[in-house]
């Protein structure tokens, strides 16, 4: 197993200074702008993509902190029940962060599979939480009509977001891990 670099408290703090305004801005963009320009009826979730990309870059701990902040910001921006958005984001960040240290240095295809797993699980957990608070939709309908097309769209968008987040991480923290090496 490839060892994972342990970041200093200062590095975590720097990530937080960058992450909080970025995630707040994304929450506003997500709730006010993007729903007006859906792609094939699906509204892309930039917060999810950014958190997945940041977890690829910086590992699960920072990814989960970003997931918590980004999720709560979305809940406050949209008026959704407080606490419903972070758990699926936390799971996505955890999966990506754990897998990153083990496989990235050996394979270029595995990151795509991990993204698929993380984004797919995000959709399913999100649906489960909505069902738990009373949204009357069946698993079949939710998965076939929303989760699958949404996962496919987000999978297509992740490379673009990854490039942007990768640049940001390099800008903030210097050289980072690269896919396929």
């Amino acid at each position: 197993m490839a060892g994972e670099r342990v970041y200093s408290a200062r590095e975590y703090a720097t990530s937080l200074y960058v992450g909080v305004p970025l995630l707040l801005s994304l929450a506003f963009l997500q709730s006010s702008v993007l729903p007006r320009i859906p792609i094939l009826t699906i509204v892309p979730n930039l917060t999810l993509l950014t958190i997945v990309a940041w977890s690829f870059q910086r590992g699960p701990n920072e990814g989960m902190v970003w997931a918590m902040i980004g999720g709560l910001a979305i809940d406050l921006a949209t008026g959704a029940p407080l606490g419903i958005s972070p758990p699926p984001l936390l799971v996505a960040a955890l999966i990506v962060g754990i897998a990153r240290a083990r496989v990235f240095r050996h394979n270029i295809l595995l990151p795509a599979l991990i993204s698929l797993l993380a984004i797919g699980l995000y959709q399913i957990i999100h649906l489960a939480l909505f069902k738990a608070i009373g949204l009357p939709v069946s698993w079949h309908t939710g998965i076939v009509e929303v989760a699958v097309p949404s996962t496919a769209l987000h999978l297509a968008l992740i490379p673009v977001v990854y490039l942007g987040v990768s640049r940001l991480a390099r800008l903030v923290h210097g050289s980072q891990m690269r896919l396929g090496r």
Binding site: G3, E4, V6, N61, M64, A77, G79, P81, P87, G142
Partner: protein, 284 residues
């Protein structure tokens, strides 16, 4: 190195469990109403920022749509010509139906004579980011007299209902939300049914009796049954009837009168008080 790795994993899992626990606690407190006031005040800066963004969105939206507009203008023009021709024909058909059913006309006259609802115009400042729900956020709330249950409409028809309020904003559940269910009546056949939203943002009117002749393009309005919404608010038009001899009821797909993707300002009917159907046990 190994110990450091194990320690790092322990921290990671602890962090995950703590965050999930916090979320679950927040979710339970929020759904039971214990966080309403706190969340309402936390939302104030968010609502203010969203109002600011929303005010400046018009220009951005048209800028973003320019390349598509140029490419699609000719095709859209042709489509509009065809649509005008179709609408003219529909207009003639509707005029005939109007003449044939004088009782409908008298009902409409009665509807006109009823006092106008009081309405408040409100900006749409945000949308739910999840593709599983269809809800939006408006820029006025409890302090502006907005209350849960109030109907929301535009000049074209019903948008939905207010389901939650904070001091300066409110959440509106759209007709198309999968959790939305509204008592409705068909315009010509006067059959009652229930309009339900779908995950795919489609509308379906269900529970229409089999012996009622439902036709395409028939108007669908609120019936007022149940007291949750005022009657005769336009919901949309029937676009496809699904009837099966093996079913007790028929259903139909409905095209909403409102274009939910283009909502910028909505009207909240503030004079309507939804019926409180909570039963009180008055027995001795």
């Amino acid at each position: 190195m190994n110990m450091a790795s194990h320690s790092s994993e322990r921290i990671r899992w602890r962090l995950f469990l703590i965050f999930v626990a916090i979320c679950l606690i927040l979710l339970v407190l929020h759904t039971t109403g214990h966080l309403s006031t706190a969340v309402g005040y936390l939302q104030i800066p968010f609502s203010a920022a969203q109002s600011w963004i929303s005010d400046r969105l018009g220009g951005l939206e048209s800028t973003l749509s320019i390349p598509g507009d140029v490419a699609a203008l000719q095709a859209e023009n042709e489509q509009l010509r065809m649509q005008i021709a179709r609408l003219e024909r529909q207009n003639e058909e509707l005029t005939e139906i109007y003449a044939e059913h004088s009782w409908l006309s008298s009902l409409l006259d009665y509807a006109r004579q009823t006092p106008e609802h009081q309405r408040v115009a409100v900006d749409v400042i945000g949308w739910d980011t999840s593709n599983f729900v269809h809800r939006l956020k408006i820029g006025k709330g409890e302090l502006d007299g907005i209350e849960p249950g109030m109907p929301v409409e535009t000049e074209r028809g019903l948008v939905g209902r207010v389901i939650a309020v904070s001091p300066h904003s409110a959440q509106v559940q759209l007709l198309t939300d999968a959790d939305s269910s509204i008592s409705a009546r068909l315009g010509a056949s006067r059959a009652d049914g229930t309009v339900q939203g779908q995950l795919t943002a489609d509308l379906t009117i269900k529970w229409i009796k089999q012996d009622v002749p439902v036709s395409e393009n028939e108007l669908v309005m609120t019936s007022g049954l149940g007291g949750y919404l005022p009657p005769d608010l336009v919901i949309g038009r029937v676009i496809q009837v699904e009837q099966s001899a093996s079913q007790l009821f028929q259903e139909a797909r409905v095209r909403p009168a409102v274009d939910f993707d283009r909502l910028e300002i909505v009207l909240v009917i503030t004079s309507f008080e939804p019926a409180n159907l909570t039963t009180e046990d008055n027995s001795p």
